[in-house]
């Protein structure tokens, strides 16, 4: 700690240069934080390891519907514990910019298959007894200032009602929260029976099923059995782990991970050059002073450590600021008004960012630090 003022004073030597270097690192880490949040939003933090659910859709495309009768057939397959179906409703509240997800579900199946949505029991009961009832996520409820008992009109271009209207009215009977931070709490779920009876077309048809399995290790095997069950039917299915399905959805936009890594790779490479140049310059300018330090008894490794500490300090201050600002921006939630419902900077990425800060400081400092270490005292003193 007693050496800290010495290290700090060197950073103040060329204040503008230090400031600009710190700022460039800050900008890079803001970008890192935001891209991490976008990646999270687009992939939903997909993990291939913890999937005990399968997604089942039409083999051709998810937009081609499946008979609702498939549910019972799938529930008969050994290893399947529960099946829930959903249908893309594609509606919005008041105006198209207020778009968010709505799907019709069967309340009991929904609650059993999706435990990540936490709904109070009394609200589930109310939902089951209210035909036009719907539960809505906390985020949307807060955004649109909905409370229990409100009647909410949702307009959809996809599902006209039998009476010709395209506006569906739901009664908010429950507000659910997410079990984890990355749980999307923007969607509205309403009753399938109300939907099925009131819609003008495609009665008895759904978009996709979510199948809960007893043993996640057998998920792959069960997916094959489901595919086989509907082979050669008019609506063949494709069953795969939910995570894989989410991944393939995300991949429709592009390989999110690769895009983010490429952008960040370019940014960090540039920053590496900028900071590396700053450190090389600062050591060159101080050759004489480093010689003085050695003359009065500082060892080669101490001098090397000072230079490394300087570069690490620059990187940590810049990176810390960047990550902090990114965290502040992302903690405000989805900036797009509905397209990125799960938008936050995951703690794991925050930790990776912190590790990159230190690595950046180390990599940019190591060459000048080695040069400083190897400096011959007598030679260095002549350059004062």
């Amino acid at each position: 700690m007693k050496f800290l003022p010495l290290i700090w004073s060197n950073l103040k030597r060329k204040k503008l240069r230090t400031l600009l270097t710190v700022l460039s690192i800050t900008v890079a880490f803001i970008l890192f934080g935001l891209l991490s949040a976008i990646k999270m939003a687009l992939t939903g933090g997909i993990s291939m390891d913890d999937s005990d659910r399968l997604m089942v859709q039409n083999r051709v495309s998810i937009i081609i519907m499946l008979p609702v009768s498939y549910k019972e057939r799938m529930e008969r397959i050994p290893g399947v514990t529960r099946v829930a179906h959903q249908t893309w409703f594609g509606g919005y509240y008041q105006e198209p910019k207020n778009f968010f997800m709505q799907t019709p579900v069967v309340p009991d199946d929904f609650v059993a298959v999706f435990p990540e949505f936490v709904v109070p029991t009394n609200q589930v009961e109310k939902w089951k007894s209210t035909r036009t009832g719907a539960i809505v996520g906390r985020k949307s409820a807060e955004k649109y200032k909905w409370k229990i008992g409100d009647r909410v009109p949702i307009k959809t271009p996809l599902w006209p009602k039998k009476d010709g209207s395209d506006t569906w009215e739901f009664e908010v009977v429950g507000i659910y929260d997410g079990k984890a931070k990355n749980t999307d709490t923007t969607a509205l779920f309403f009753r399938y029976d109300y939907f099925d009876e009131a819609r003008k077309r495609d009665a008895g048809q759904v978009n996709w099923y979510t199948v809960k399995v007893k043993d996640r290790k057998q998920a792959g095997e069960i997916a094959k059995l489901i595919n086989k069950e509907f082979e050669n039917s008019s609506a063949e299915v494709k069953a795969e782990p939910e995570a894989a399905m989410a991944q393939s959805w995300a991949n429709q936009i592009g390989n999110i991970g690769l895009i983010c890594s490429s952008i960040l790779g370019a940014v960090f490479f540039t920053i590496l050059l900028v900071t590396g140049n700053t450190m090389a310059q600062t050591v060159r300018e101080r050759t004489g002073e480093l010689g003085v330090l050695k003359a009065i008894g500082f060892t080669n490794s101490q001098v090397m450590t000072f230079v490394l500490a300087e570069s690490c300090l620059i990187a940590i201050v810049g990176g810390g600021l960047g990550l902090g600002i990114a965290w502040l921006i992302t903690s405000g939630g989805d900036p797009t008004g509905g397209f990125l419902p799960v938008f936050f900077l995951p703690p794991r990425d925050l930790a990776i960012g912190a590790a990159i800060c230190v690595a950046l400081g180390f990599i940019t400092g190591i060459v000048p630090a080695m040069q400083a270490m190897r400096l011959q005292v007598a030679t260095a003193l002549r350059r004062m």
Binding site: F3, R13, V292, A295, G297, F298, T299, N300, Q376, L381
Partner: protein
Amino acid sequence: MSEPTKSNDALVRVDGVEKVFRRGSEDIHVLHQLDLRVPQGEFLALMGPSGSGKSTLLNLIGGLDRPSKGSITIGGERLDGLSDRRLAAWRARHVGFVFQLYNLMPTLNAERNVELPLLLTHLSKAERQKHVAAALQVVGLAHRAKHFPRTLSGGEQQRVGIARGIVTDPTILLCDEPTGDLDRKSGDGILDLLQALNREHGKTIVMVTHDPHASARAARTVHLYKGQLVNEPVA
């Protein structure tokens, strides 16, 4: 020129030292079979024209460089056998340097500059501050402790340099042209200070200079010419 001390109990013993620098394919012999003794408490001036090897010899005595041949013993410790790390520790403990261009850290104020060598000791912050204050008091700059080098005159900067050199109470103070960058008045002030350190505090001082006015302040002067000690100054 007075005779170099021959006694074996001298603080500084330079025996048969040679220094060769290699420049490209050429060997440059800077010091030739040089012997020198400096007793404890002496104020010695090393004089000679440019390129005579004065600063090289000073660097060797201060453990900043190693002789190509021969040995240097300070206070009974042979420097040529020490590793870089041990040599650095030895310098921190035994040597105070005063440079022609002061060589202060521009980003540190006077007291922080003086404190630098103390950072290598185990002294507490309070103890370090006490030592720094005492050193600045000795050089007459206690009132300029918070000033940065750029706000000090050349003479004042050199006083800070001397305070940094003596703050650890080193065995020997090595001064490389300490008045070389100063006007006569400031230079005299520095020489007065060095003389006082030698006479009142018993500090052993080896000072490189090419200024006869400065060397006259030393108790003894030795002359170097083309890497060898000579009896009389050579123009």
